[in-house]
Symmetry: D2
Subunit: 366 residues, 4 copies
């Protein structure tokens, strides 16, 4: 138990990721050490590497959503459902921790995703504090972290294929209040958008139009459940609007889900929602610049509802697991297009940055 | 009963209003003729005169919200509550008529304010079809128009003081889902904004900040219930934001109601809502030009809800009457600052256009 | 075009149904005559025959949901989506007509299913007024009836297999606000319950438990999507509760849908919902007698939501068509277990009364 | 600082309350000692004394809602709004503590009032653990308890006059979603009902009917804002229904709030809500026995919503403080009809049990 733990460290924006040895941590009561089976390189990691998130305490060990096996624990450890967790159990955990549950955001406004005490594995936890990221052979699960056993039917790669994108999409779908028979447009075919397509289908959407690029992702969008997948680089705004109208009595869609993260998506999205419909904006994790809208034509006269969707909560994490378990035929795994070892982590980041893959799987033991 | 009826006609945008005689209409079964006691010149009439609403069938008789006494009727006439309406009754009516109740907007989407068959007295009904506006000694109430008796406790001037602005504000308040204790900002101190202030107060708002101009309206805003009324022409965006923060734990307001109709109000309004709050956009009846927003900072990260609010429905009309009846101490009457006869209607329009008054009362018999 | 039309008439409760000739109606502008391809005998028809609905103007032509081909029409006839309807078109219509759209129920309370003017084909329309029911070779579609073309992909028998039960179930599912991943119990495996199972599945329910009888319906319940189907006559309340708990972390179900119409279902249903869950009561069309509940244990302490669900609206009718079109693999057709001609209508009624079939299809031309 | 602290102890149901000395507690970091200025004897305390709540760890120090001055603290103590709390500050606290924020009730179902870890001062905390109740000269505020400074404008007696009943009523009003102009019936004129009347009025209710007894409470109900207050012991069910209909177009009330805690209130309440209205059941803290309802007439056909309301959350506690601060003219203080010292605590309990007072104020220093 005394050999060091190898982890990949992002020392600063745009610097090559470095591999470092970390000491095996002492565990206080209620803590556990997770032997990492799989983690991920997602769009947020690219943003981290570009330095586009504020307040990140570099150096950090990235990898916010991860899965593995409990290697060690101290005291009684329980999952969210109250069942005990033991060494050897296959476990996943909710990357957001230290949400206080006492502040006005947590209690009065019921916006715990904006709690000021909130920390996130792989993003806001500095490497100086320990193994708080999944690009590592082990992850330190501090007391209070929300854990759940991963059902045997879900392979680690399936779970990470869904990963943070799936959890975010669960929140967006909840926020969208999709009703049986609704027509849905999904803007963006990255990890969030692809998951959102599948979840819209599961929620009873009648028609789903995906808008994104490149062709490989559009193809996967169709596999996830899109009736139509449009290449945003090869179609005009007018063509896309026409394609949506063709499926929706010329009314535009009941629901539009923004998972593109581009400023231009916003005015287009407003035009793709029908009068009285809902537009959920969930893809702008970082500042993509100003967007120009017309409040009369696009909001007031349309009697529209626009809903921002920030972060996720424990219930989204749990629903994601349940969805993976009960829907093995949905190819979430394919979102995690390729596996990389820690030695290849700079390649993984480069491939994700270049959009060659929606997401990289990280296997710290390969 | 055969003498002609005098009415004011807007023949085309920016042309002087003309007075004309109209024949007394034959009434089919279910129709009534209302002797007009009071009508109004509101901001929409100024828009009409500027030619800023599309599809208006000039010449028209303006005056969409009006009140009076039933002068004649044919067959059985009932109010919305099923009670009979007779000659001599003091009556008000809902200006929106011919909503079809069958189309997809009416039935599937539950957005009857966007029904394509919908017509509005004083706005979309041509003078060639008859007395469909309140700038007239009498108004023709066609079969199917939603009527209600005006309680004796409400003077005609009180009703028109509230008028269309009050009915619109009832809808905005419903859409805002104000909860007991919410802090509220109202952008705009015209007829809608002033009513919205009073309704926010009645709904249990803890703190209300009004933003508008000129000083006479701000003074009235305070009378309607605003704790603080800020002059938009004499304060900076930063000063206004600070004033809101000072009343709201530095969080910004739970709810912001846009009743300003200016493009610049939208980005400012987004900044004045707290994380997880609600922003209702109800003042953009016409195209006020493009607004620049930031989807990351102002919507996504704020987990915001933005709700467009278009037109109004019968229930808002009825609630407006009930509010006037049960709250006689609220000075809705003062919104209708001054009375004008039909001969003075061009002056009334000029005064409204110059913002010298929030609204003019029209008395076609003075 | 002058030969008479044969129809089956229910002259009074518990009297044999009689066949009678009716004259072919003159059509006013906006009306149409539908050559009936298929109608149904459902549970409501059994209630009608038992005299358990109040205010029914016997004699009536039963058959509230029906489908056919336009045989004649006068003037311009349009569907709800605004498209024209011509002779020869395959058409279905919403059985509820004459909803006024003006009264307090329609406008203030938004409960049009309780509009006092509302009439229903096959239930509240007397035979003395004409062909207002589907147990007839033709149905008179009066002006204003909401029609829609039946997509070619939907056979008449598929549509009636779903029929009124499907439309009711669409409303119940809307009222239940099922969220992706919810566990659902459906009480009752008649036409409504069977459809509700399928719709819960389409809406993303993770687990569905059906409770009903007899075995043939339980078998169909499994085909419609139930994970578990329990025979209410062969299991105890405790066994059923245990079965639900086994699928739901011992918490009971997120949502319970009551489509049983038995008083005993209510207290059991309250026990099968989890704390904070939703219980939709939609099966009590008629008075099934008193139920005994405990407000502390079953409502207050459970922080429960109970929602009555009465009738249906045009949007449920349209969603039912869309669901049939996009989900051809769901065996709605099997709910309409058997076809009967008009000569066999008393047999059909007897089979439905004895629960030998969930529903009979009526083919007035066989 | 070493003298003992005098507290009143309920040793077992129906035994006289005893006064005992407790040692002054050692404070861990984050804890504080509150010198009690005022606590209360409410209906729940009567239930406690009757032994009607399950799982109470007698002996206990009752008094769940209390107010006072910080006498001692250790480490940094902050209120819910993040501001620091120091010795000498006037402070109130939320009686519910140890809600875990991690379990399925807290996170998945968003029903923290049913968290299994939840404890409540004065009810579920044993005297053996220390000063966890307000019938004591000091209350131990353990780390994590949610505190807020009491604004100077609110006297201690005002705060306790509202007390637990006000906080419960804030939750019920939230759950009722009262809209401006709604008619409201409040069943019960105890501490919860009286507060609910005031809050319904503040929320914009147009008409409020209170049902309760005895006359002294009905008189206070009128002062709190009821338009009509009916004596449940001197009127028949029919008379009460007629009284409600007289104020509501013969439709019954938009909203009924149950704060009576009697089984008979439930069927009556269901009859007093209009079609499509809302019925909030919040008064059944303990088992008041079975109620007989008719699901057809009272729920299904009425398209009703019934909502149980259990306990309260921090946001209700905070809103209660804000309401007291901004509405000094509402006589919440009168609910706490009379002051008692610790020596008189058995008298206070007897007076509350006999309904001679809605609530007793406890001043442990008198």
């Amino acid at each position: 138990m005394s050999e060091p733990i190898l982890a990949a460290v992002m020392t600063a924006p745009r610097r090559p990721i470095e591999l470092r040895d970390f000491p095996r941590p002492d565990l206080p009561a209620g803590a556990a050490l997770l032997r990492t089976a799989c983690s991920e390189v997602c769009g947020t990691d690219v943003h981290l590497w570009h330095g586009r998130l504020s307040g990140v305490p570099y150096p950090i060990i990235p990898g916010h959503v991860s899965a593995g096996t409990i290697e060690a624990s101290r005291g009684r450890i329980t999952g969210i459902d109250g069942s005990e967790i033991h060494e050897g159990h296959r476990v996943v955990f909710f990357d957001v921790h230290r949400t206080c549950g006492r502040c006005r955001a947590c209690t009065v406004h019921r916006t715990p995703t904006r709690c000021a005490s909130r920390r996130v594995y792989g993003i806001t936890d500095p490497a100086s504090e320990g193994l708080f990221g999944g690009w590592s052979q082990a992850v330190y699960l501090e007391p209070g972290v929300a854990m759940a056993r991963l059902p045997d039917a879900i392979a680690f790669d399936d779970y990470i294929g869904g990963g943070c994108g799936l959890i975010t999409a669960v929140h967006m779908i909840e926020r969208a209040e999709i009703r049986l028979g609704d027509s849905v447009v999904v803007q963006g075919t990255g990890a969030v958008g692809l998951s959102a397509i599948a979840l819209a289908r599961l929620s009873g959407a009648s028609r789903i139009v995906a808008i994104g690029a490149p062709e490989s992702r559009l193809s996967l969008a169709r596999e996830m459940g899109a009736d139509v997948a449009l290449d945003v680089t090869r179609t005009s705004v007018e063509e896309r609007r026409q394609a949506v109208n063709d499926l929706t009595y010329d009314e535009c869609a009941d629901v539009v889900l923004e998972a593109a993260g581009a400023a231009a998506a916003v005015p287009e999205g407003l035009d793709l929602v029908r009068v009285g419909g809902r537009y959920v904006i969930g893809g702008h994790y970082t500042d993509a610049g100003p967007a120009t809208i017309n409040a009369h034509h696009q909001i007031n006269r349309k009697h529209l509802e626009i809903r921002g969707c920030w972060g996720s909560e424990i219930r989204h994490f749990l629903r994601a697991i349940a969805i993976l378990e009960t829907n093995p035929s949905i190819p979430f795994r394919k979102i995690g297009a390729q596996r990389y070892g820690l030695e290849q982590i700079n390649d993984a980041l480069a491939d994700a940055e270049a959009l060659r893959i929606p997401k990289a799987l990280v296997d710290p033991w390969s």
